[in-house]
């Protein structure tokens, strides 16, 4: 029993609730959000340390024993994701201060921002499948509002599509939970896992596993369910886009990982091979999109799809190396995607366009921006001293060990094309002739640059300090590889 687990949900929730009362006091809004965000980071650090020393933590809400009440569970995997979420949301928050604009700030931008964090942190730390659905809805509802806030034409249009897709996937989630409940008769994730292994996963449970893959695949943008994403993510303002790109799809990835390692690991010949094929196709679709476009936002958006594919390939291989690699890569990707979106956002703020053909020569006037982008691009591709390297190495190593040579090869080749796609932005946008841009002076580049610089430094530290971080990551991978650790921690307390 440990109330620390609920704090990453409770702090943003309280912050949001307070902020609703002061919609016009922008400075108060900013300060309270920032303080809440910092407090969440501190709590998340404590949580990671606590899980590291004392093993998996669980909290039965209202002291109802485990299968009967809602249980919050924090193993190392979810604790690390909560920490990453808090850091990413903090940087997006301080970026918002100078870029989101008064109009949006006056209309409940910060409360909704905090509710989004509530949803994401809740989804990472819940131990109950229906509670996961509720936290998904908290997250999605906030994301609808953030997507449409401002009400420009493109936002309205894309919000309708995004909302419709997510309404359908939520209904599918409810249906899937209903099927699962009729078979196992419980909603607690540890208890579901125990009962699934008692009956040894008959065919009907494999069907439910595939349904879960469809539901979470729609949230996490895997092939062939990614179609809504490039359009929808093109619409919102940059800090919202960075938040979406770093967090929302990763919640889908987390849920696939959780269900496929905790519930449905008995018939891996069917479910995990399916996951693996889809992951490989996702990587291929992602890189095709990433190299095809000349729009800087679109390039990074398709890179999200590539990363989702790489992480899920690692999960589908089901050995400890690949798990370690996937967790490593997942955290790296959340940090670096946020950084890239924010950097690209600065370039758009300076040039006033997202078309790569209309921008050039940025590095002469903004060397800080240029070199930060360069490092972030190398980190994304996985160049050794930086953070993307070790994750991909372990995934490829796990792929070879699991005899998925094709998938491992695709992961390696995809790195090359990802590097090409982000270097295309660097070469075309930052090199070349110096230009004068119309609204150049209005962009508060120095302030905006703070957040991506923090993230890129973190990513470099994360890459260089691999040895120090490895014990945490491998602890998380152990829990994924051995579900009995999770079950024992929740049910036998």
């Amino acid at each position: 029993m440990n109330n620390l687990i609920i704090l990453p949900i409770l702090i943003p929730f309280l912050a949001a609730a307070i902020l609703i009362f002061l919609p016009k006091k922008i400075m108060a809004q900013r300060w309270i959000s920032a303080l809440g965000s910092v407090a969440t980071i501190v709590v998340a650090l404590f949580l990671v340390q606590k899980v590291h020393t004392n093993g998996i933590q669980s909290l039965n809400i209202s002291s109802w024993e485990a299968p009967f009440g809602i249980t919050l569970v924090s193993d190392m995997f979810s604790a690390l994701l909560i920490l990453t979420t808090s850091i990413v949301s903090f940087t997006c928050l301080i970026y918002s201060f100078k870029s989101i604009g008064k109009e949006r700030e006056n209309h409940y931008y910060y409360p909704v921002f905090n509710f989004l964090i509530v949803g994401v942190n809740g989804a990472f730390s819940t131990g109950d499948i229906f509670n996961l659905f509720v936290f998904f809805e908290v997250m999605l509802m906030s994301s609808y509002v953030l997507l449409v806030l401002g009400g420009t034409k493109i936002q309205l249009r894309e919000s309708i599509k995004y909302l419709l897709v997510n309404v359908i996937s939520s209904a599918l989630f409810v249906i899937t939970v209903a099927y699962l409940y009729s078979i196992v008769g419980t909603l607690n994730m540890a208890h579901i896992s125990a009962r699934v292994s008692e009956i040894g996963q008959p065919a009907i449970l494999s069907v439910i596993a595939v349904l879960f893959l469809i539901v979470f695949g729609l949230k996490g943008a895997i092939f062939p369910l990614y179609f809504w994403m490039p359009g929808s993510y093109n619409a919102p303002p940059i800090p919202v886009l960075a938040l979406f790109g770093a967090l929302l799809t990763k919640v889908g990835v987390y849920s696939i990982t959780r269900t496929y390692t905790l519930f449905f690991y008995h018939d891996a010949g069917f479910t995990h091979v399916l996951l693996q094929v889809l992951a490989i196709l996702t990587i291929i679709i992602g890189v095709i999109g990433a190299i095809a476009y000349w729009d800087v936002k679109k390039i990074i958006i398709y890179n999200i799809i590539v990363a989702v594919g790489v992480i899920l390939f690692g999960i589908s291989v089901m050995n400890i190396d690949a798990f370690t690699g996937s967790i490593y890569y997942l955290i790296h990707d959340m940090i670096i995607k946020a950084a890239l979106f924010l950097l690209v956002g600065i370039a758009i703020a300076i040039t006033g366009t997202s078309n790569l053909r209309n921008m050039s020569g940025l590095i002469k006037r903004y060397p800080g921006l240029g070199w930060t982008y360069f490092i972030a691009a190398l980190a994304l591709a996985g160049i050794p001293p930086l953070s993307g390297f070790i994750g991909k190495v372990l995934i490829v190593q796990g792929g070879f060990a699991g005899e998925s040579y094709l998938g491992a090869a695709v992961v390696l080749i995809s790195s090359l094309l990802v590097l090409f796609s982000v270097m295309k932005i660097f070469i075309n946008g930052f090199w070349g002739d110096d230009q004068n841009y119309a609204n150049e002076d209005k962009a508060p580049v120095k302030w905006l640059l703070i957040s991506p610089v923090i993230l890129v430094i973190l990513s470099a530290v994360y890459g260089i300090g691999t040895e120090a971080i490895l014990p945490y990551i491998s602890q998380a991978a152990e829990t994924l590889a051995d579900p009995s650790l999770y079950i024992d921690a929740v049910l036998k307390e």
Binding site: L156, R157, S159, I160, S182
Partner: protein, 113 residues
Amino acid sequence: MEILMSIVVGVLFMTATYLMLSKSLLRIIVGTGLLSHGAHLLILTMGGLKRGAAPLLGENAESYTDPLPQALILTAIVISFGVTAFFLVLAYRAYKELGTDNIEQMRGTESNE
């Protein structure tokens, strides 16, 4: 009884899918309403439709119906209610701004509009 309910739910899903594939935005929203009806009825059916008293301890019955699916449905209903209200307002706003309710005309990927 469960078989009958399954068929009804299937018809609801079928109608919802058909409506959501149409062009008018309002028909799509009606489709999402039917989809959530189907999902809620499915939870009720999947929880079992055996006879028993309403889940009130004052009934002093020998057996009760399963209270858990009812709680789940109640949660799902308010969530889909909130989302539907938001969706309807969004559709209204989009109709005023974009001047159309035809989803075919809401195309385009240009970010600089």
